[in-house]
């Protein structure tokens, strides 16, 4: 069996590591994974917000926001932001219908219906992780907010997502008690409905109020910190430079062989094809190793390598990057081969 040159082993190791580092950089910095309703923090892609502030006294509440004045031809949902971080999302909720199928996620009880909104009931629907933050009285659960107890009428099933840490309170009741100022989000199945709803909200607020429109900002952090990015960027660059050095040393070691090949009539094109084939085999073997490595990483280092964020797009980009590297290495090999002086090499000078 032909002995594998040490340079090819080096190439293989270097390409595998470049590929792994690139995957991590891509996974953290390029969001290509398909986002569903839950991973978008229970919002659709159409969600838009409006931030309303009352320029009057903070404690006067004579002006109310009347949700019955907000109408649209299509169904919509309206939310009021109360609290939002990774451990706890609390929102007031109102909807002309259960537009996004929250009822499908209920494990106990029910979701809000039109009667709850019409009668302004004192009710809440909570995620599975929020039960420990409720108070149990007479066999019922209550969620406390702003000196009031909201009866829990439904509990979502466990989804291992943001839904588990959320609490929805009946917005029609909240607006009876609280100031209308705050951050509201409108969501619907199409963008036009969202725009119409926000316009209706804008027209409903008292004249002395100030407002501005906002886009939704995710609470889920995505990406590496600057030190992490620096680590992987410089590792990739260092490994690429090592690849170049390996090529130079490889040509130096193979000068005699290359001189003999050129003397025997090997053209630039045939050298390109020969080393191109070797590169392609290396790239393919490296790519397979990277895919296996990613799966290995998932099983033993879950939590650091964001495999849940990996999409087909990342692998495609990686494949293209590796092919580019292979092409450039082949090109460099051919260029360096051209510089080999046949007579000097064979004469030993």
């Amino acid at each position: 069996m032909k002995k594998i040159s040490i340079e090819y082993l080096l190439y293989y190791l270097q390409i595998v590591f470049i590929g792994m580092f690139l995957m991590i950089l891509l996974a953290y910095n390029l969001n290509l994974s398909a986002q569903n309703f839950l991973s978008r923090e229970m919002f659709s892609e159409n969600v838009k917000g409006i931030n309303i502030s009352n320029s009057g006294s903070d404690f006067e509440n004579s002006d109310k926001l009347d949700l019955s004045l907000i109408t649209s031809d299509n169904d919509f949902m309206l939310y009021k932001y109360i609290s939002g971080d990774y451990d706890e999302i609390i929102r007031g909720i109102y909807g002309t219908a259960d537009v996004f199928g929250f009822s499908n996620y209920i494990s106990e009880g029910r979701f809000f219906n039109s009667d709850d909104y019409k009668n302004k009931t004192h009710t809440a629907v909570i995620g599975s992780n929020m039960l420990s933050k409720t108070i149990k009285e007479n066999g019922k659960y209550y969620f406390g907010y702003s000196q009031e107890l909201f009866e829990v009428i439904g509990i979502f099933k466990q989804t291992d997502n943001n839904l588990d840490n959320c609490v929805y309170l009946n917005l029609t009741y909240i607006l009876e008690k609280d100031s209308f100022s705050g951050l509201y989000y409108a969501d619907a199945l199409n963008e036009d409905t969202v725009s119409l709803v926000l316009s209706a909200v804008q027209n409903s607020i008292p004249q002395n109020s100030e407002y501005y429109f906002v886009d939704y900002e995710s609470i889920n952090e995505y990406g590496l910190d600057s030190m992490g990015n620096t680590l992987y960027i410089f590792s990739v660059l260092a490994a690429l430079i090592h690849l170049l050095l390996t090529t130079i040393f490889f040509i130096t070691r193979s000068e005699y062989t290359i001189s003999v090949e050129k003397l025997c009539g090997m053209t630039k094109k045939s050298i390109f094809i020969k080393y191109g084939c070797y590169s392609l085999i290396l790239i393919c073997v490296s790519f397979i190793t990277i895919v296996l490595g990613v799966n290995l990483f998932t099983n033993f280092q879950n939590g650091f390598f964001p495999t849940e964020q990996l999409a087909c797009g990342h692998f495609v980009i990686l494949g293209l990057a590796l092919l580019t590297i292979g092409f450039l290495i082949t090109l460099l090999t051919v260029l360096l081969s051209q510089k080999v002086n046949i007579s000097a090499t064979l004469k030993g000078r």
Binding site: L10, L13, Q14, F17, F21, D58, F59, I82, S83, D87, E88, I90, S132, K133, T134, I135, Y142, G144, Y145, S146, Q147, E148, L149, D178, S179, S181, G182, D225, S226, M227, G228, N229, T230, L231, F234, S235, L237, A238, A239, I241, H242, L244, L245, T246, I248, F249, T252, R253, Y256, F297, Q301, N302, G303, F304, F305, T345, L346, K347, G348, R349
Partner: protein
């Protein structure tokens, strides 16, 4: 010998510029990766040690609140004061857990009644004791008529902290945590070691405002031993040398005025940030669930639903686990970088010998010893490393801004760099000698084989 070394370096830099430049850049970039791994490792170790030291085998909960400014304003109003006090009293006396409301804040010194109060009237202090000094914010808080000093407000039992010791004076007594009259309030204060040469036990410090609008007098009762420290409510190690330590007092007098409003000192004392928010509930792991249930029951009894409990220890465990994963991953990268550097530098030595076989053969015929060849190769290696160090300095000053790129410089960067360069130089030199020894003189002189 010197001329040979000079010639060798010149030959390396001028005739093999591309290889030299690539090696220098590769080593610099590899070292940046290794350094970041080292920084990660140091950080993870420190966090792990801090967590073990501060949490031990207990469960820590932290109290937070739900909402924004509107909620703060509501909870700070007099309407909620009795509820806040009742909740605080219940939390303090619970048999199921310990309630710890020790926090860092500023101590203000000013006199609202005296327009001529100025910096000449400030109490004795040092610049490093100013609030915000380490963060570079001290100047922001500096003014002509108001002084901000670092302070820690402590709960009872603070003396039981593991790394707190007095160098002189005495600890707070139980009665020091109770203000029994709203007039001429005197609070005892322990000072950090930085105050030792400017204050003494028994000194009185006037016009102090410990998060209250009413002026109090501080009475120095002792000094802490140098480098005494504790873990604050954000689990940050706080060395107390530059701090004033005062008791987080309660009100023991009738605070309801004739017009049924509250005395201002009482209102300021039972501010949610002084008594509730950021306080910690500490219990055994077995009682963790029961403690959480009791807390929410207390909230229900006082109708203070704005507050919430965060499990600090559970959060810290998850954080440490992710740090560990990250450190291991960085370690794999660092090992790879080091191995690759070793291989590449050995290749470079072999490449150098191969390209200059005849020259080395002539050196050996001329009588050069292996010791001298060793020195020659060390000189070659040092050239690469000196130029790499210069490149690292340039990269560090020009690109290391902590925002886009962060090179993770730590206390051991230069030492580790020196060790790696020394080891690599020795390795390269020994490898080169080994290769030269393996080749016979005829092979060296006949370059075409």
């Amino acid at each position: 010998m010197r001329s040979i070394i000079f010639e060798e370096i010149k030959n390396f830099v001028i005739n093999r510029t591309v290889v030299a430049v690539l090696l220098i850049i590769a080593f610099s970039f590899s070292f940046i990766a290794v350094n970041i791994t080292l920084t990660d490792f140091i950080y993870a170790s420190n966090e792990q040690s801090a967590a073990e030291e501060s949490y031990g085998d207990k469960t820590f909960y932290k109290i937070t609140f739900i909402g924004e400014d509107e909620v703060i304003n509501r909870l700070s109003s007099d309407e909620y004061k009795e509820n806040i006090k009742n909740l605080y009293d219940s939390l303090k006396t619970s048999p199921l857990f310990d309630y710890n409301c020790t926090f860092k804040d500023s101590m203000l010194f000013y006199n609202a009644d005296d327009t001529e109060y100025s910096s000449d009237d400030f109490p004795p202090h040092k610049k490093e004791c100013l609030f915000g000094y380490e963060e570079g914010d001290a100047d922001f808080y500096t003014s002509d008529d108001m002084l901000y000093l670092k302070a820690v407000y402590v709960s009872q039992g603070f003396e039981k902290e593991q790394h707190i010791e007095l160098s002189s004076g005495s600890w707070f007594k139980t009665e020091d945590f109770n203000v029994s009259s709203p007039d001429n309030i005197v609070l005892p204060v322990l000072l950090g070691s930085a105050y030792k040469d400017i204050c003494k036990t028994g000194d009185k410090i006037e016009n102090a405002h410990p998060a209250v609008s009413k002026a109090v007098t501080l009475s120095v009762i002792g000094f802490l031993k140098e480098n005494s420290y504790f873990y604050d409510n954000n689990n940050e190690k706080t060395i107390l040398n530059r701090y004033m330590i005062i008791p987080n007092w309660d009100i023991g007098y009738d605070y309801v005025l004739n017009n049924q409003s509250y005395d201002s000192f009482f209102s300021d004392t039972y501010n949610i940030f002084n008594k509730i928010v950021n306080a910690r509930i500490i219990c055994s792991n077995e009682n963790a669930d029961a403690a959480s249930e009791m807390f929410y029951k207390m909230l229900n009894d006082n109708k203070l639903y704005e507050f919430s409990l965060i499990n600090e220890t559970s959060g810290m465990r998850q954080y440490l686990s992710s740090l560990e994963g990250r450190t291991v991953s960085c370690g794999i990268i660092a090992v790879f970088m080091i191995l690759l550097s070793v291989v590449m530098f050995c290749f470079q030595v072999y490449y150098n010998i191969r390209k200059n076989r005849k020259k080395y053969g002539i050196y050996m015929i001329s009588g050069i010893t292996f010791k001298q060849l060793f020195v020659l190769m060390i000189a070659n290696a040092l050239t690469i490393f000196i130029l790499s160090d210069m490149l690292l300095c340039i990269l560090n000053f020009s690109l290391n801004n902590g925002m886009i790129l962060d090179f993770g410089t730590n206390d051991y960067t230069i030492t580790v760099l020196f060790i790696i360069e020394t080891l690599l130089s020795l390795f390269m030199a020994f490898f080169g000698l080994y290769k030269l020894k393996k080749m016979n003189l005829c092979t060296l002189l006949r370059e075409n084989e």
